[in-house]
């Protein structure tokens, strides 16, 4: 027994009492109580130990949700290239950075414009869109999935517009050909291609005689002489759009 808290004199003086206390206090426990409680104590201890082990296992398993989240993120990241490839196969023009990333690893995505066109498209976003903007045509029907048809349609539109515009009696449609945006000319302001005072064609005249449109060989058989498919001053492509 420790004497901590009391001096040796105090302990010596109260010694007989503390000694007597040890003999006086303990009490006999009923045997029936012992016989009843001991099995309960053993059962409670068993249950407690099992629960403690279960808790320990549960604590170890609580780490897993974090790992699961990491795996989910990794799967999502891995699915991004697959998704892009799937979109490309479906005919969607994927963004240039994504295409470049695929090119970098030696994969060329299908249904994508050539690299030069792609870069032009990326650089010329502020300018008018050409009639052969395949991505636009394809993206106009996102749910249809008929990208090949859209592509072909866009190319036909482009060819028709090109043929009509060059042979039109009234001259080039505004913004139609040569990638010149409306309101802009290739030559600097105040200058023209021909010397001052001279024009290639007289004013009011076109290169072709009035009523004769320059036609492509394919269209010559379909359209009677003196008639154009589109009314004068109109082209099939909307004003403000020109070939790139």
């Amino acid at each position: 027994m420790s004497t901590n808290g009391a001096s040796s004199n105090e302990m010596a003086e109260a010694g007989p009492f503390t000694q007597a206390l040890r003999a006086a206090v303990p009490a006999r426990v009923d045997r029936e109580l012992t016989a009843t409680i001991v099995p309960r104590l053993a059962a409670a201890a068993r249950l407690s130990t099992v629960e403690a082990e279960t808790r320990a296992v549960g604590r170890a398993q609580t780490v897993r949700p974090g790992r699961r989240a990491l795996v989910a993120v990794a799967i999502a990241v891995a699915l991004v290239p697959l998704l892009l490839a799937g979109l490309a196969v479906a005919g969607v023009t994927v963004p240039a950075p994504a295409r470049d990333a695929f090119h970098a690893v030696g994969i060329s995505l299908p249904n994508q414009p050539p690299k030069t066109e792609a870069s032009e498209a990326a650089g010329g976003k502020t300018g008018p869109r050409g009639a052969d903007d395949v991505s636009g045509a394809a993206q106009a029907k996102p749910s249809g999935g008929n990208s090949t048809a859209a592509h072909q349609h866009a190319r036909d539109q482009h060819q028709k517009a090109q043929g009509k515009a060059t042979g039109h009696g009234q001259g080039n449609a505004v913004g139609l050909n040569d990638s010149t945006p409306p309101g802009q000319s290739k030559t600097p302001p105040g200058q023209s291609k021909t010397p001052h005072g001279q024009t290639e064609t007289p004013p009011g005249q076109s290169k072709t005689p009035p009523g004769h449109a320059k036609q492509s060989p394919a269209e010559e058989t379909d359209i009677p002489p003196g008639q154009a498919k589109t009314p004068p001053g109109q082209s099939k492509t909307p004003a403000g759009q020109s070939k790139k």
């Binding site: 808290g5 426990v29 012992t34 104590l41 053993a42």
Partner: protein, 183 residues
């Protein structure tokens, strides 16, 4: 009981061995029951049962040697005693009217001292102490707990426990002197 023997006993008790629990119960239950009776527990046997059931439920969390186990059991007994008092319609503490039936003989020195003082007088002196003094003296000298362990059990600082012990022993000396008991 050696520490090695106690360790194996503890492991067996954790595993739910009835023999181990019987040994633990017979070793500690008489002193714990005496402590509960001396402090006027409403139903000492019932509180004793609750105490040991909690010991069994929490045994998987205990880690220590024999002395620490004894302190731990007495701490649980003290807490169960307080709970029992709260639930017993806040009756005033009544010390056992009849002295507890002694168990097997304690060591010779203790038996001699008890024979000199008389069991009834010891009970009377205990009853005349303040509750805090009685609890501290019983836990220190019957429970064999250190001042620090008693402080944790009763929720006081060690300095306060030392002061209670000093005042309690001083009160015992005065009572023994007034009763004419030779020191």
């Amino acid at each position: 009981m050696s520490e090695e023997r106690f360790s194996s006993l503890l492991a067996a008790a954790r595993a739910g061995d009835e023999g181990a629990w019987e040994e633990i119960f017979q070793e500690l239950a008489p002193t714990v029951l005496g402590y509960l009776r001396a402090n006027g527990a409403p139903d000492p046997e019932d509180v004793l049962g609750e105490t040991f059931l909690q010991v069994a439920r929490d045994i998987s969390t205990f880690d220590g040697e024999r002395g620490a186990f004894r302190s731990w059991v007495f701490t649980i007994a003290h807490h169960r005693l307080i709970d029992a008092r709260r639930h017993s319609a806040r009756r005033p503490v009544e010390l056992a009217a009849e002295p507890p039936e002694p168990r097997e003989r304690a060591d010779d020195a203790a038996e001699e001292a008890l024979a000199r003082l008389g069991r009834e007088r010891v009970q009377r002196i205990l009853g005349s102490l303040s509750e805090d003094q009685r609890v501290v003296l019983l836990l220190r000298f019957v429970g064999d707990m250190s001042v620090e362990d008693v402080a944790k059990a009763v929720g006081k600082r060690p300095g306060a426990v030392k002061a209670l012990q000093r005042r309690g022993l001083a009160a015992v000396r005065r009572l023994l002197k007034s009763a004419g008991v030779p020191q």
